[in-house]
């Protein structure tokens, strides 16, 4: 019944999906945290930059960003991100696009977490003479991160699903393989079911697990 799977590297495709997810998740967490720090910083210029960045990249379709990394960055401007093979160039470009887009969502999630830290905590920190960077690093962010595990999990799940967009620039991940198999094989329903099942396996347990973690670590107030 599943002999149509022969000749296709199904696990390999999903492995690329996982890799895209992991690299982009790490990248967008780092860049998103930096953006969130900018958005609450005392320097007006940085606040303005953070706000502009979030408003721009939350409102552009991810597909536009990903296609731009290939057509615009690579084919027009010759940006290769230090890779020399075609497949790894596309992979890195896709990761770059995913990071740029999802960092805006990470930033917003973190900022909502920063808003849940009671004012008294910040005031007490300032009263004992901590600088802004210390207030953020020692007092606010540790509490904020604990309360945003849930929202960050949403971003991670959305990111996992959004890696399929990388198919638009030919990264050999699950959606691209699905398209290829649909074209060449007859069992449309079975093929779709296999891929749907793959994504359910990736997203549902992660969502439930992270939901449990977020309830576990969130600061009870």
């Amino acid at each position: 019944m599943f002999d149509f799977l022969e000749g296709y590297d199904l696990l390999g495709a999903f492995w690329v999906t996982v890799q895209l997810t992991v690299y982009s998740a790490i990248g967008s967490l780092v860049w998103g945290t930096a953006l969130a720090a900018m958005r609450v910083s005392p320097v007006p210029l940085m606040r303005g930059f953070g706000t502009c960045y979030v408003n721009v990249f939350r409102n552009i379709p991810l597909t536009v960003i990903i296609v731009f990394t290939s057509l615009g960055l690579f084919q027009t401007l010759g940006v290769t991100l230090g890779a020399d093979q075609f497949t790894s160039i596309n992979f890195r470009l896709a990761v770059l696009g995913l990071i740029v887009y999802h960092a805006a969502f990470v930033c917003e999630a973190l900022r909502s977490g920063i808003n849940t830290v009671p004012v008294g905590q910040v005031e007490a920190a300032r009263a004992i003479g901590l600088r802004f960077s210390q207030v953020l690093r020692l007092i606010v962010l540790p509490q904020a991160f604990r309360s945003v595990v849930g929202p960050l999990a949403n971003v991670l799940i959305a990111l996992t699903k959004n890696t399929t967009v990388a198919a638009a620039i030919g990264v050999a991940e699950a959606a691209l393989l699905m398209r290829e198999m649909i074209e060449n094989e007859a069992q449309l329903i079975l093929i779709s079911a296999v891929f749907a099942f793959g994504f359910v396996c990736l997203t549902l347990p992660a969502g439930l697990f992270l939901g449990w973690v977020s309830r576990k670590v969130s600061v009870k107030r």
């Binding site: 300032r126 198919a167 638009a168 699905m178 891929f195």
Partner: protein, 308 residues
Amino acid sequence: MKPSLYDAPGPRARRHNLLWSVLFVVALAVLVWWVVASLSDKNQLEWAKWRPFFTDPRVWTTYLLPGLRNTLLAAALAMVIALPLGALFGIARLSDHRWVRGAAGTVVEFFRAIPVLILMLFANAAYAEFTDISTDVRPLYAVVTGLVLYNGSVLAEIVRAGILALPRGQGDAALAIGMRKNQVMRYVLLPQSVTAMMPAIVSQLVVIVKDTALGGALLGFSELLASVRPMSANYGANTIASFTVVAVLFILLNLTLTSFAGWLEARLRRAKRFSGAVVRPEAVEELARPGEHVGPEDLGGPEGPRGR
């Protein structure tokens, strides 16, 4: 407005801020310089490549406006079809019968767990195999189907949250005057919760608009993003200029929708006659996560968020 994390700056803090501002400006300037240099290096800044968008109405009438029209058409169709479906499944999830609740729950969780692109690819191939829809409208059908399946399930969660957000007394009072369960839903709960759901529904529209671009990139649906290739082919390889215009159009469209959602939310919170809670527009992101429901912290009453 939340009190900020810093005091009103004194002399030292002002010097500090100035230093950081200067450093930041320098970093930005380096970045901008690099972008401009690499753009002009590849002749992407020539006025001839940008001029058509300002002087040649044919760029707009042949490529951009039809693309925008298709984007809006697909988004509107998806929303109009997904709303009643979402309402149906949202209400079914609140049913008293366990098997109705379970079946609706399974469907909603399933479609929330898989990427919308997978749904579109499936719909496209299914229409090609099982129906005789002509090839020129098939991408539209496939895009709308994918969007409806995914967003219908997210809207089901919004509807469910909106109904749960109403004060309990509403349903109890309706039952007390002798209404049947479906009358309670039709005459009392649903009409009131529609108001509470409006901000979240409008911001779901942003998600739908953004996802139509998938059809342009992978299904050959001629929406806004798909107009980039023919434009840059016809106007002297102005890839960067075309992308910029398309991105700006998307941003303007979505910013309008986002601020409309925010305005609706603020208006609802101020309204005195409105008794229930509002489903926050931001809750939409949460609903993209399978197995997760909108909790009380996502609902704010007329006075603002509860429990904070």
